[in-house]
């Protein structure tokens, strides 16, 4: 009887072990069929970084598995900052970023002898959104946005009313929604709108953009911002506010974001590639090439805006020169 209990303990452990090994062994199919003439590559490609950029690179990695089934591409989402922390130590080949690399991150890379190249892969337009029932906001200027979102910019108080911005608007408090401080989306908004000033303390923060969508859709006095893809998916629940940067109000659309007319809120999305890996590992170069050649298609497919085609070709030449 005593023995039985020991068997049970050992049994549970080994059952789990056996099950996993069985699962691991039985499954060895790559994606679609490899296309003929290209040379067969193998090895690892390690990508980490921004969760905003993740869907584009995930799409590329998925399609790439069909072209080069023996190359193992892994894509993580530690966030822009978390990605750079690993990238500048030479632990990853690519680092996705929803903002350009910061000076201190550059220094860290230099100290560790890491050289890198910045590649733009798509555009995102930060959309400013209000509730469907909000019929008074026709457009906002950049200065008005700054006034609303900066802490203490109106009467030294964080409670801002619509009528504080323009007298003809309702005398009701604006409910603000913003992505959390860890997101690259916030970093970008901070840079172009807030100018490094503290964010209005009444703003509700969430790292999950879908929570922001729910919040704005549920409150008539809501005002918030997030990536263009989330707006496109929720057009029936929210209204995007045109933004006036001195040249008249511009609505965020595919065209205005791509042309840069939707300023200053259209932002480029990046991936940084380790130059040494690009030179020494054929699979890293090949994946970078694949990403730039098909970047436009993948960006559009997952809800972002493609760069103009010349831009991709320019960067393809650039990495070819580095090889």
């Amino acid at each position: 009887m005593k023995k039985n209990k020991w068997f049970a303990l050992a049994g549970v452990t080994s059952a789990v072990l056996a099950f996993t090994t069985a699962c691991g062994g039985g499954a060895e199919q790559g994606g679609e069929n490899a296309e003929g003439n290209a040379e067969k590559l193998s090895g690892n490609v390690v990508v980490d970084g921004s969760s905003t950029v993740y869907p584009i690179v995930e799409a590329a990695a998925e399609a790439y598995a069909g072209e080069q089934p023996d190359v193992k591409v892994s894509v993580g989402l530690s966030g822009t900052g978390g990605g750079f922390e690993k990238f500048t130590k030479g632990e990853t080949d690519f680092s996705n970023a929803s903002r350009p690399i910061k000076d201190e991150e550059k220094q860290a890379a230099e100290q560790n002898g890491i050289e890198f190249e910045e590649l733009q892969i798509a555009f995102d337009g930060l959309s400013i959104l209000v509730n469907k029932d909000n019929d008074w906001v026709d457009y906002l200027t950049v200065d008005e946005l700054k006034k609303i979102f900066t802490s203490g910019a109106v009467n030294g108080d964080d409670k801002v009313k619509w009528s504080d911005i323009r007298p003809e608007w309702p005398n009701e408090e604006i409910k603000l929604f913003s992505p959390g401080h860890d997101s690259g989306t916030f970093d970008y908004f901070d840079e172009v709108i807030l100018d490094g000033q503290p964010l209005n303390k009444t703003a509700q923060l969430s790292e999950d953009d879908n929570v922001l969508v729910q919040g704005i859709a549920g409150d008539k006095n809501a005002l918030g911002y997030f990536g263009f893809a989330y707006y496109v998916e929720n057009k029936d629940k929210l209204r995007a506010v045109p933004i006036d940067n001195g040249n008249g109000p511009v609505e965020p659309t595919h065209e205005t974001i791509q042309s840069g007319e939707y300023a200053p809120l259209s932002r480029p999305l990046f991936t940084y590639v380790n130059t040494k890996a690009l030179k020494e590992k054929a699979q890293v170069y090949d994946f970078a090439k694949f990403l730039l050649e098909n970047g436009a298609e993948f960006a559009e497919e997952v809800g972002y805006v493609a760069l103009p085609q010349e831009k991709y070709e320019e960067q393809l030449k650039k990495i070819e020169g580095l090889k």
Binding site: K2, V12, D209
Partner: protein
């Protein structure tokens, strides 16, 4: 002469006491009901969303940019691989510590100190263990983003829970049994091996499997370690990189496309099934070996 027992007052008091009893009963029932209702709403939402998305393809596909092709295979297999490391490592270390503290160690300042720290460790946020794992296992020991590095990190995370559960189970073994064993001339180890552990196993396993269930549901420490979310291949050994179910779910819920929310729900159902499976093993073992003294 006043009557010693005033019937009238007794009835009055009785009614008040009975009323109070009923009110409290109702409040406690509401407290129970609240949790249950939330659970039912949650399960209902998840299952209605997951239905139609949960099929063999979902279990057999790798992550994808298209919701209809997305699957949880890499996460499911990865989570089970993680258990291959976490289960033995945390059980051996955890039960070992508990045996030492309960059976061998003398009660003094030092063991008190250890005891307090174990209890405190159980409350440390999981992301801190992620940072520890990143510096120690991923970087110092150079294990990379492997099953082994993540498994060791997760073992540390659940270790305090297992130690405490095992200690409780060992302490619950009646002392007469130990004394009877010593009386027969058995050594300390013979007593532990032959008497204490068999009696404590149901308790140890129940606590341990609940702890392992926690390990299988954690995301934060793995994100810190840099475990990838997209993989189009499976790990073949403990030094390979991998991904787990909660990371897949986390990624799907944050996507803008509504269909990905359904995929996430399907992922949650798979995770729940694995958890229920693990918990039922715990219940099965407990019932099979439970003895009353």
């Amino acid at each position: 002469m006043e009557k010693l027992i005033d019937k009238q007052r007794v009835v009055q008091h009785m009614n008040g006491r009975l009323l109070r009893n009923n009110v409290l009963k109702f409040l406690f029932f509401l407290a129970t009901l609240f949790g249950l209702i939330v659970l039912v709403v949650l399960l209902y939402r998840i299952f209605t969303q997951a239905i139609g998305w949960l099929n063999i393809d979902f279990l057999n596909n790798f992550p994808s940019r298209r919701p209809e092709n997305a699957g949880i295979k890499a996460g499911l297999v990865g989570s089970l691989w993680l258990m291959v490391i976490v289960a033995p490592v945390s059980l051996i270390l955890g039960v070992g510590t508990a045996i030492y503290l309960e059976e061998y160690a003398k009660k003094n300042r030092f063991t008190d100190f250890i005891q307090t720290n174990i209890s405190n460790l159980a409350g440390v946020p999981s992301i801190v263990f992620g940072l520890l794992g990143l510096t120690l296992f991923v970087r110092e020991l150079n294990l990379g983003r492997s099953v082994l590095a993540a498994g060791l990190t997760m073992s540390l995370l659940v270790l305090p829970v297992i130690v405490v559960a095992a200690q409780e189970a060992i302490r619950a073994v009646p002392n007469q049994l130990r004394e009877a064993s010593y009386g027969m001339g058995a050594t300390k180890w013979q007593t532990i091996y032959g008497i204490v552990l068999p009696a404590a196993i149901p308790g140890i396993l129940t606590g341990s499997i609940l702890a392992l269930s926690r390990a299988i549901g954690e995301t934060a420490p793995l994100v810190v370690l840099g475990i990838p979310t997209f993989l189009a291949y499976l790990p073949r050994g403990i030094f390979d990189t991998f991904t787990v179910m909660p990371m897949q779910i986390y990624n799907w819920t944050s996507r803008p496309q509504a269909d990905f929310q359904n995929v996430a729900a399907a992922g949650i159902v798979v995770l729940l099934v694995v958890l229920i499976f693990m918990n039922s093993i715990a219940i099965f073992i407990r019932n099979k070996f439970q003895k009353r003294y």
